[in-house]
Symmetry: D2
Subunit: 289 residues, 4 copies
């Protein structure tokens, strides 16, 4: 359903599953004039299950201010059901930092989608450990920061990056950023760093996955968008896709074919993150699409 972005709010919920939660949440919204226009829910299957829910609702006829609505929800509903929740408004464009190294294909794809309005975010900076793509980024009027990463001095580099980002970054997208982020960096952005890995994880984690795929003789190659955790290529998978290959293709050909998969998979993952469609639970994602 296409509704005005101006008036759309989104509520993401997770809590211990027990009867009455959906009725309580939707009843609360209804009583305050919030018209629920989309609802997705999922519950894990175990006895001590967890309930996840995403609602979109329209705000024009709210009987209270947004802040009062949030206060009332916390008091009347969230407390009672032990709900963790997050309320956002579609008009508030998330602030997204993009990290990149030398490959341009994923970066350019993201910038074009943002430019075209396919993705709704504000991009105040691109940060790279190489100077190569500055000119391309400048075309879009976005500041480009070159932060070299010196071997053995990762923390110096990361400190510089954190300083540049300041406090206002909501999400970081690694658009083929070929550095491993430290645990302490990742801890500041838990479930807020989206990476694209150029293989069908868990196959071919680590370095040069196209070479690994070529060596193993697989018949499909893939790409995986996932949240970054301290352990390399082990975070919760957001989306994956594959493309068929054959014996004629060298690892160089796989690289070329894989580029298209990388950029479409990452674009979907970023879109879902920006639209609050993702919940991470036990290192897996619930994707409300």
């Amino acid at each position: 359903m296409t509704l005005s972005r101006e008036t759309t709010a989104r509520l993401l919920i997770s809590c211990p599953d027990r009867p009455g939660i959906i009725a309580a949440v939707t009843g609360f919204l209804y009583r305050h004039g919030a018209n629920c226009t989309a609802l997705d829910q999922h519950a894990t299957e175990r006895e001590d299950g967890v309930l996840f829910m995403r609602l979109e609702f329209q705000t024009p006829h709210l009987d209270v201010s947004r802040s009062m609505l949030e206060e009332a929800f916390a008091e009347e509903v969230a407390g009672k059901f032990d709900i963790k929740w997050r309320l956002s408004y579609a008009t508030d464009a998330p602030r997204m930092a993009i990290f990149v190294s030398k490959h341009d294909h994923v970066l350019m794809d993201l910038l074009w989608r943002l430019h075209r309005g396919d993705l709704h975010a504000e991009v105040p900076m691109v940060i790279s450990n190489h100077p190569d793509l500055e000119h391309e980024v400048a075309r879009f009027g976005i500041p480009y920061y070159h932060v070299p990463m010196v071997k053995g001095e990762k923390h110096t580099g990361e400190a510089r990056m954190l300083e540049i980002m300041g406090d206002g970054i909501d999400v970081i997208v690694l658009a083929r950023y070929m550095q491993i982020l430290s645990g302490s960096f990742v801890d500041r952005y838990v479930n807020r760093i989206v990476n694209i890995h150029h293989s069908f994880l868990p196959a071919f984690a680590g370095a040069d996955p196209y070479r690994q795929a070529s060596d193993r003789g697989v018949k499909l190659i893939g790409a995986t968008a996932h949240y970054v955790t301290e352990e390399l290529d082990r975070g919760a998978i957001i989306d994956q896709d594959v493309v068929r290959v054959n014996h004629r293709q060298s690892s160089e050909d796989l690289r070329r074919l894989g580029r298209d998969v990388e950029r479409s998979v990452l674009a979907r993952a970023v879109r879902w993150h920006l639209e609050d469609r993702l919940i991470v639970h036990e290192n897996k994602t619930v994707v409300f699409v």
Copy 2:
């Protein structure tokens, strides 16, 4: 979420969209001890939109009998919001008649899935305009009725089929049944006859679609499961899929490759129908999966 089939009920709803419906329905269920374990909804985008909803709920703690619950729902909720609804219980296996002509691949696939418990239905009969597959069907202990269709006497044949089916058939699956059903026949089973057409509709409606596809030189061939309407191959599409082909493949090869697509697409469509996951609106399907 995997829950006991014994206790699962499903409620399918469509009604004019207005605020408060989800809260009213989920609140009603909660008050009567029905624990809602799955909820999907969709609303069309126009001003005078229509709301569709599918709920699964668990019945062990109902405070009333099933029939009283249905009565109360009609009175307290459905009337107020002008809701069309259908309540079913997962234990009640729908009664499914299968029509087939001479091709065995789709029929055998369905019978195996039913045998294996992948599809939950009772199949009291297979009806065919040819005697060829009687032996295969007999293996599964299912009665096989040969009802020849004589040119110009379609109504005689169809009358015989209706007589065999009697009143207790919930859904008819056309597993490559190569006869066109009359309008009067179709009218008795509106949105309850599922057909598999061996092309990617709307391309190549009508006879011999693989030949048509081969002649046109398409690079993908497909299959389409749809509800049958009086107009040939024009009913609401339930699911579609495709497979890649190339210039080396004759129309005979396309037939072979297409068989796999036909059977998997039809199996999905039948599963969704049996699980009350489909709503037809303006000749399109809402698919709650």
Copy 3:
């Protein structure tokens, strides 16, 4: 097999099928020091079949000049077997004109692939019936010609386009060019104009295919790259692909999802054309990949 572009030649052949052709062609090349490194062939299935063949061979050890090799081939082999043939050298970048209207996604994708070296062609011009994309094209240092198409004066516009192109254009790519080319224009570039149509042809030919797809309620949408003939959307199909959609998606969503399919399908088709991998026969393509 990755071999030096510097030394690779390609021979495309079609002729009436009879015994001995492959031996004659490969024997000829061998005798002249041309090492055949790839060979694909296809024959139609009818009695009066047609043989198609594509060879790649390496030229460093040729015992004659290229022009003498071509002369000798014509005399010794082609005449004898009534062969239509085309010999090209991988170093000779084809000259490609791109026509576009207002949508940028396909154009930008092509320009980036060319820039990155994924596609090997020289692009001396982009021609558009709108001025909108001039700035984007200028970034790549490619001349942009705005040739308005006035209703009822198609021939004036086309004459201007032909004048701009001159004699040296090998292939024209329609990157979402929303004008119908006249028969006389098309006749000058038979099997050398590649178009991307934003549907899974033959479904939804003509205007606004995403709207048509949305109205029909299909579950997959697609894109089709084809050679342009005078009859709209009826030329030989080069490649197609699809993406899954559902009831939640408006025709606007289909447009967004379709863009990714359009650009990847067109990129493949253009690559195959540039690498002499396509032969058109009876309005179908033989694709040697």
Copy 4:
């Protein structure tokens, strides 16, 4: 191209790559009246490359007997170029043993394809470590041998299987046979045992891959057909495919969805093996399709 199976022969070749081989082979066939109707070739990219080639030719106009043709080829061509080769005739149905445990879906699918003529092989036996599927196999008139595998006595069981098979088995298909074959068993059938593994290898090798996939939260699950080597799930991959899954699906659902992929992937792999379309080189397959 559809040609009579009666007259079709296939020649598979591998040898050190050097100029003139294709001309020599096709010239030889032509001189003996063998009309080459299909030719595929591939060469590895290294300096000391290997050439692989598959030819189909028609035998009605051979000027010598089949055995004399083979002798002449060995003498005149194969020796000169150090060619390893294999010549087969499409009329000679390979003899295929099927091993199965308890899951019926892959076995039934193969038996139906054989019954329908989609696969061209003679199946003199099905061998299982369980008695469960005897009745299903009997329907097809195929002998079923129950060979229990007792822990710690693998060699006793395998000896019994070898005895049952005797000398005339060309290929063994593991249709979800859940025992690991010993190295000595595998050594007798190098590149002649085709297995279906129910994951997208190399991800999730070993036991219960659907559980592993569910635990990791992948968004695609797959199946892999490969030749069996002594090392578990490490043999040359023949084909793979995937299907999309989401957070709602339990590992039981993955099992059900995966079944369709398993059977279609294995069917393709078996078809290619039976039609001499596969060459194994450095634990990877060249697939001539």
